[in-house]
């Protein structure tokens, strides 16, 4: 079920009413409702893959339970590996089997051996990368004794399949989300209102910004051979806005929805395009994944301890693995490696933690230096996004060659350019709102400083009107569903 669909607009109020009015007296029943609603939500795409989530849940629940009992170190390690093998095994099979097979065959053919093996026609289950990492965090934390094993199966099932963040995050840490299923939830009016506002802003980002930019980005990337440098640059800018609007929009809707049910999910995006360097960008982009890799990969690998070489090695490992997490394609690996390269000078100069505060913290506009830093960071991420979006490495390289061509200084042209010009005021308005709200958890959290309901209502209604007038006319998938 898509957040931006009529189905979800019907589903959400029904679950909300059942949750607060029918199942509100008993925590277990409330958790059961969350689990059932989550399975319905997920099964709306393809009910066959429900068995996969259920199996993962079952394995991790019993692994966790036994980790709470077993004291023998070896046995505990075996239990941990069972969880890792099952979870990463599913992920590996569904997501990476064909990639490894194709590359294996290619490697042998380079050596002069012809291998015959057919790729399998595998459908990637929606959200598998997200819930796999979430359940892994549970078993690892229980193994490390940072978390008690789940108290009951229903709470654990609800935690694994929690519908607001099941298919595209935020990837919640078990230490944050699981205990919330044990405590009775109290409805908080202000929290619910904030949740609704976050949903509204997320929806705007997805259906107005991302979906409209996608039309032009897709057209330009698919016909990049025929486009001028300036058009290709514009195509990359469209994609930069598309991916931000799409993914951060999803996260906003997820976090807002969870708030309606009394849950707090972690912030996943903190205005990354207002970053002054790449290190800051990665503290602000897909925070739940970056911190996951930091906690469960970078630190176990040794983190920043052990000298410069170790730091560089570990940085490259997490960026490359993070790229590979996104998809079974070399483009994602190069995207990760490129970001590691961007990060490297900051790491070596020990300047990777220099921009911890929000840019222009106490002023309306950035100063000249900050503006320059933000522009450079935006440009570097834009170059990296070309690899992320391209069909293959060759496509990305030819795209970038096309950008850095004398035609970069001509006027851009593509089919529908007039139509995209119409969108320009909306994109500028979006940019201004994001800038003004950069100190908040989401841009419109404190957009209206006047404590006047009528003004608030008018502004939010105006936002709804803008959505109706400018949204892409049909329901579209979120980009991160394919990861």
């Amino acid at each position: 079920m898509l957040f931006n669909s009529l189905d979800f607009a019907i589903f959400l109020p029904i679950v909300f009413v059942l949750y607060w009015f029918v199942f509100n007296r008993n925590l277990k029943w409330q958790n059961l409702l969350v689990a059932a609603a989550s399975y319905l939500f997920y099964g709306w795409w393809d009910w066959r893959f429900l068995s996969l989530i259920f199996f993962s849940t079952l394995v991790d629940y019993f692994v966790g339970k036994n980790l709470g009992i077993v004291t023998n170190k070896l046995h505990r390690q075996i239990l941990l590996w069972i969880s890792i093998i099952v979870n990463l095994g599913f992920l590996g099979f569904f997501k990476y089997y064909n990639f490894f097979l194709d590359n294996f065959i290619s490697a042998f053919s380079v050596a002069g051996y012809d291998l015959n093996a057919n790729s399998l026609d595998i459908i990637l289950p929606v959200g598998i990368s997200f819930y796999t990492f979430q359940t892994l965090s549970y078993t690892i934390d229980v193994y490390k004794k940072r978390l008690e094993p789940a108290k009951d199966f229903i709470s654990f099932t609800a935690f694994v399949s929690f519908f607001p963040q099941l298919v595209a995050g935020p990837i919640e840490r078990a230490t944050n989300l699981l205990p919330q299923f044990y405590k009775s939830r109290k409805f908080e009016y202000s929290k619910a209102v904030d949740g609704m506002r976050q949903i509204l802003w997320g929806l705007f980002k997805k259906v107005v910004i991302a979906d409209n930019c996608a039309v032009f980005a897709n057209h330009i990337f698919e016909n990049s051979g025929d486009m001028s440098g300036s058009t290709l640059l514009l195509g990359a800018i469209f994609f930069t806005f598309q991916i931000y609007g799409d993914f951060s929009g999803y996260s906003d809707i997820a976090i807002g929805t969870a708030r309606l049910f009394g849950f707090n999910l972690m912030q996943n995006f903190a205005f990354p395009y207002f970053s002054r360097d790449i290190a800051e960008f990665w503290r602000r982009w897909h925070i739940s994944l970056s911190t996951w890799f930091r906690d469960y990969l970078y630190i176990p690998l040794g983190g920043s301890r052990g000298g410069t070489w170790m730091k560089v090695r570990n940085t490259f490992i997490i960026f490359i693995v993070s790229g590979f997490w996104h998809g079974a394609n070399w483009t994602f690996i190069v995207w990760g490696a490129l970001n590691a390269l961007y990060f490297l000078p900051l790491l070596l100069a020990k300047k990777n933690r220099q921009n911890m505060e929000v840019v222009a913290q106490n002023s309306l506009f950035p100063n000249f230096k900050e503006f320059g830093q933000m522009s450079l960071t935006f440009f570097l991420t834009l170059i990296a996004w070309v690899f992320f979006r391209a069909e293959n490495i060759g496509h990305a390289v030819s795209y970038l060659k096309g950008v850095f061509d004398p035609s970069l200084f001509t006027f851009p042209y593509y089919v529908g350019i007039g139509f995209s010009v119409k969108l320009a005021p909306i994109i500028i308005l979006f940019f201004i709102i994001e800038w003004l709200g950069r100190r908040e958890k989401f841009a419109i959290e404190n957009l209206v400083y006047i404590n006047n309901n009528k003004v608030n209502w008018l502004i939010h209604s105006f936002l709804i009107l803008l959505i109706g007038l400018y949204m892409f006319s049909s329901e579209t998938n979120f980009i991160y569903f394919q990861f």
């Binding site: 009016y189 209502w457 709804i464 009107l465 109706g468 007038l469 400018y470």
Partner: protein, 309 residues
């Protein structure tokens, strides 16, 4: 519990408020902002195809012998003047890009008034596979709107169709837009009484490579098709389902699902896509539409094949 009730109450009040803002904003936007800048309203009164005039004329027409239904391939391929010469009174209810979602509404609205002996449903694969959005704008903008067209807008799940429906209702009931009169001659086209549109004679220069098309079935369209057939069968009219001529470079797969369904109802599908007496260039003005010379030949053939008993 009190705070939830307060939340729901205020949410309902806000919804009412925002719906009001939405309606006012949408209408103001539709009226003030030039069409070029409008992304999600497509009110196209007097668009090509003369639907406005046709729907006005049908309201003053009753008791005909033949009704033609379908897309532009219907209103450009069956000339009531020719059938009139053979003694058959007919009306062409085709409309631009018409799909079964719109055919169904037109049948529900007008079939009883027209009370035909024959209903000719001109189909092609696109009618089954299309999402039906384009033709909805034509119907919503040029005929009256009611719960049926609202249901259509809901079914299509397309904000542009829904916005257009809201704007069309405003135009219809506040501005009386349906009273406006369309010019019956536009560019190369002339509206002929009885629903036909005649194009100024020219030949087809637009050749393309072989175009393989499959009969794909959008379930919404298929269900509307089935309901339409059932509705027509409830009248006394004889139903003729036909594919009118098209350029020979179109190649189709076999319409198995369609044939099986029609078979179960003892109905035939008359495929006149490739007629030996029609030339791809001389008798068409584009790959999908006959010119008047082609219409004359095809209508003569059609009459003899189906009515000259």
């Amino acid at each position: 519990m009190e705070s939830i009730k307060k939340f729901i109450k205020r949410f309902i009040l806000f919804s009412i408020f925002s719906i009001a803002v939405y309606l006012i904003g949408l209408i103001g936007y539709g009226e003030i902002v030039p069409d070029y800048f409008q992304q999600n309203i497509f009110f196209e009164k007097f668009a090509y195809g003369f639907s406005n005039t046709r729907f006005k004329e049908v309201k003053n027409t009753s008791e005909v012998d033949i009704v033609f239904l379908g897309s532009s391939r219907s209103y450009r391929h069956y000339d009531p003047r020719i059938f009139g010469e053979y003694g058959y009174n007919s009306f062409n209810l085709g409309s631009s890009a018409q799909t079964f979602l719109q055919t169904e509404i037109l049948v529900n609205r007008y079939i009883e008034r027209l009370n035909p002996d024959y209903v000719v449903l001109d189909i092609y694969p696109g009618m089954f596979s299309s999402d039906g959005v384009e033709s909805s704008f034509d119907l919503i903008s040029n005929d009256y709107n009611d719960l049926e067209t609202f249901k259509l807008a809901l079914q299509l799940r397309n904000i542009k169709v829904m916005n257009t429906w809201i704007f069309a209702v405003y135009k219809e009931y506040i501005c009386n837009s349906l009273d406006d009169i369309e010019n019956k001659a536009q560019k190369e086209d002339t509206y002929v009484n009885g629903g036909f549109v005649q194009r100024k004679i020219r030949t087809n220069q637009n050749y393309s490579d072989i175009n393989h098309q499959k009969w794909k079935y959008n379930e919404l369209q298929w269900e509307a098709f089935v309901r339409t057939i059932q509705k027509i069968k409830q009248t006394d009219a004889q139903l003729i389902i036909v594919h009118s001529p098209r350029n020979s470079h179109f190649r189709y797969s076999k319409p198995e699902r369609l044939l099986t369904y029609l078979d179960s109802l003892n109905l035939s599908f008359y495929n006149y896509k490739n007629m030996g007496f029609l030339s791809d260039s001389l008798h068409f003005y584009d790959p999908s539409h006959l010119n008047q010379n082609g219409v004359n030949l095809y209508n003569d053939f059609f009459y003899k094949r189906h009515f000259n008993d």
